[in-house]
Each structure stands twice: as structure tokens, then as C-alpha cells.
């Protein structure tokens, strides 16, 4: 029997499944590591490293932690591969002269410099990144099989395979089987847990507007950080976007009927 634990984390529920022989002590240590990573990337916490980076805009170069540096590099990679559709510097409702893009971020060594008026929000990738880091930590800690599911963005590694399900966007209580996952990630972006007509937390960088009607987009990719970001790229750029191939990913789109 596998060992499974769940805790409120990253604004959602994080569920971790390990093989029966994995040390129990891995659970508290990985949960606390994930909380520490959450603190680095928390947009709403004025004490987070991300907030300090944002406050440095137009002022000075911010010296990044290794985790911040790694995630910013991934963001630049995704920004370029998506032709700017993935852009953590875009804010909803910014008028044209206030608009910024990830091109306003310059990385030199471990220093990040952002131009005045630029605000980075890493919510579209931080969860996936933290899932990846948790997975690596659990494997290094001696687990033979690992599944980390952060409120629907998940990664599985190690022995065996696991059936994965997606919600039906017309009736989120109903599940559809996606198949068996052995190694890799699945992430989903969808609007069914938001109020009807609500502005969703997805902004189209071409118009600066928040999306209101979206399908359920599920992406499978080797790493959760890319699966997480690619769901947003597919939302804006369609399920044949070249970025999918680039990151070894597949997309599955369901519209509510």
C-alpha cells in the first residue's frame, strides 16, 4: 500500500504519494521545503524574494537566490519559445505606455535587473517548479516512486505507473481517464472553479486583457514547470503551438458544453 499525505499549500491542496517503503520522515521535510519555496515566489507577500526583486525595478540589480535564478531562466526560455505568449511581466489592464514584457528582465550572472514599472508575477510557473523540486527531493531522499499533485498540477517519477484523471469542464465532479503516467507531468488550466463571467487570472499579452471564457487545457510534459506554463500558451496560442514540441509536450483541450 502506498503512503499518501495531503496538506494545504500553494493556495491549494498538495497531495504526495510515495511507495510503501519510503521513509515517513520525507513527508514533513518535503512539505516544509515546499513552504520555503512558496515564500520565495509569493507575489502577495511583501517579504518574499519576488517582492524584493519587484521593488528593485529601475533601481538596482537584484542578487538572486539559486531557486529564483533557475525559475527566471526557465521563464525566459518559455517567453522566447512561445513568441511572448507566456509573459510573467504582463499585467491585466495596463495601458499601452505602462506595458512591460519579459524583455524588460536582464539576467547577468546571478543578478537580475528589471526596468522601472516592471512587475513580475510567477504564479503561472512557480507551482510547477515547486512540484518538480519536491519530486527531485523525494527521489534523492530514497523514495522509489513519487507522485506530487499540487491541486491538479502533478508529476510522477519512479517505479510503476499511475492512472491520471481530468475533470469534465461541464461537470467538474465527473472524471475522465487520461491514461497511465509513468514518468512526467500533467497540468491543467480551466475556469470551472471560478464564478460565471469572472475575470480569470490569465492575461493575453497581445491585448492586455484578462480572459473570461476558456476551455479546460491539459498538458503532459516531462517537467511540471513546463506543463504548467504550456497550459497558458495553449490557451492563447492553440493546441498546435510549436512550444509543445520544443518541450516534449502534448495538449488535450476540452470545451464545456
Amino acid at each position: 500500500m502506498a503512503k499518501i499525505r495531503a496538506t494545504p499549500l500553494l493556495g491549494t491542496f498538495v497531495e504526495i504519494t510515495l511507495d510503501r517503503n519510503a521513509p515517513e520522515s520525507l513527508f514533513p521535510s518535503v512539505f516544509s521545503r515546499m513552504r520555503a519555496l512558496e515564500r520565495i515566489f509569493n507575489f502577495h507577500d511583501p517579504e518574499s524574494e519576488l517582492s524584493r526583486l519587484n521593488r528593485s525595478a529601475g533601481e538596482h540589480a537584484h542578487r538572486c537566490s539559486l531557486e529564483m535564478l533557475a525559475l527566471l531562466r526557465i521563464c525566459i526560455e518559455l517567453y522566447e519559445a512561445s513568441g511572448g505568449l507566456f509573459d510573467p511581466a504582463v499585467r491585466a489592464g495596463a495601458v499601452s505606455h505602462q506595458r512591460r514584457s519579459l524583455a524588460d528582465l536582464i539576467l547577468t550572472g546571478d543578478r537580475a535587473r528589471i526596468s522601472a514599472g516592471t512587475v513580475l508575477n510567477l504564479n503561472g510557473v512557480a507551482k510547477g517548479y515547486i512540484v518538480d523540486r519536491a519530486c527531485e527531493m523525494l527521489l534523492e531522499g530514497g523514495a522509489a516512486s513519487v507522485l506530487v499533485n499540487a491541486g491538479g498540477d502533478l508529476r510522477r517519477e519512479g517505479a510503476g505507473e499511475t492512472p491520471i484523471w481530468v475533470r469534465n469542464p461541464s461537470s467538474p465532479g465527473e472524471l475522465r481517464n487520461l491514461g497511465l503516467l509513468r514518468s512526467g507531468s500533467v497540468a491543467t488550466s480551466a475556469g470551472y472553479f471560478f464564478a460565471e463571467g469572472a475575470e480569470l487570472p490569465y492575461v493575453d499579452p497581445r491585448s492586455g486583457r484578462s480572459l473570461t471564457q476558456i476551455p479546460s487545457v491539459t498538458v503532459a510534459a516531462p517537467h511540471c514547470v513546463y506543463a504548467d506554463a504550456l497550459t497558458k500558451i495553449v490557451l492563447l496560442g492553440g493546441d498546435h503551438h510549436a512550444a509543445l514540441d520544443r518541450f516534449g509536450a502534448q495538449a488535450f483541450v476540452q470545451w464545456a458544453v
Binding site: 500500500m1 497531495e15 491538479g152 491520471i164 481517464n177 497511465l180 514518468s183 479546460s216 514540441d245
Partner: protein, 179 residues
Amino acid sequence: MNKKLLFALSAATTAVHLPAHAASYLSVEQAQKEFFPGADRFELRDAKINEAEKELIEKKSGTKVRLAEQKAWRAWKGTKPLGYFLVDEVYGKHEFITYAAAIDPNGLLSHVQILEYKESYGGDVKNPLWLKQFLGKGIAAPLTLGNDIVNISGATLSCKHVTDGIRRILATYEVKFHG
């Protein structure tokens, strides 16, 4: 394409529909052991909450107190108190959650884990399959996949109700147990 990524997305076109999600993660005893591995005794300290205390807890936490009793245990190693273990339940529009928290002797939250999670949607209640999954152990629920856990990739479900519950538990601790 990464060949190790064994994933047949095409399977979704021949979808199997199952009703959603219920999971049991830990029993109270398992959670106690995990939160306080050094404890040799858990003293039952359930506490009634009177009207005045209820108001005070609501004011401190900004959340409603629904239950007139707080389930609580004090963890001991010999004569040394290790902290408190509290169990609470919260519900949202679609979910019902029981969770446990540990508070260390300095009054700081040291662990939170979900004990049980049940999810329902309006339409599901009419579905006998959905009801069946709550009939308890011993009856083969149709979606049982290793320890009742279904791995769902979906839109993020907010943990706000649990976060509110934790604020209430910390305020209850201050009012009823601290000092």
C-alpha cells in the same frame, strides 16, 4: 518527445466517466504519531466553547465558530509537554475536509495535514455511484484506485476554507489552551 513519458492522451477520447473524489489520508492516531514522533502519551483535552469564548475566537480569527467543542489532545513525553494536537473540520461549496494541526509549546503551528477529503457537486448527489463511495470501507467503491486516491489533473481548488480554519484553530488555542 521524451520516450519515458508514457502517456496516452488519446485515451481521453474513449473516456471512462467516474464521479469525483473522496480520500482518507490519515487516522487521528497516525497523524498524532507523525506530528509528535517523540510523544509517549496523548491526553484528551476536548474543550467546550462558551458564548463569550466563541465571540472572542471569532474576533481574533475573523472566521465563524460553528462547533461548540474543539477536539484537542496534549502530547507528552513523560512529564514534558510537547504541544497540542487539534482536529477541525471545514466545508466549502463543494468540499468537506477534516484536518489536523499541531501547535508547539511556543504556540506556533508546526504541522497541518488533511485527514479526510470529500468532494461533491450538485449533480453528483443524484448519482448512485457517487453516494456509494461514501458507504465506508468494506464496500468496493467504484473509483477505488489504491487507498481511495484518485489522481486528478484539474483546475486548482482553493484551500481557503482550511486556511480560515487554521486561523480559527490558532485563536481557539490562545483562548482555551495557552498558558
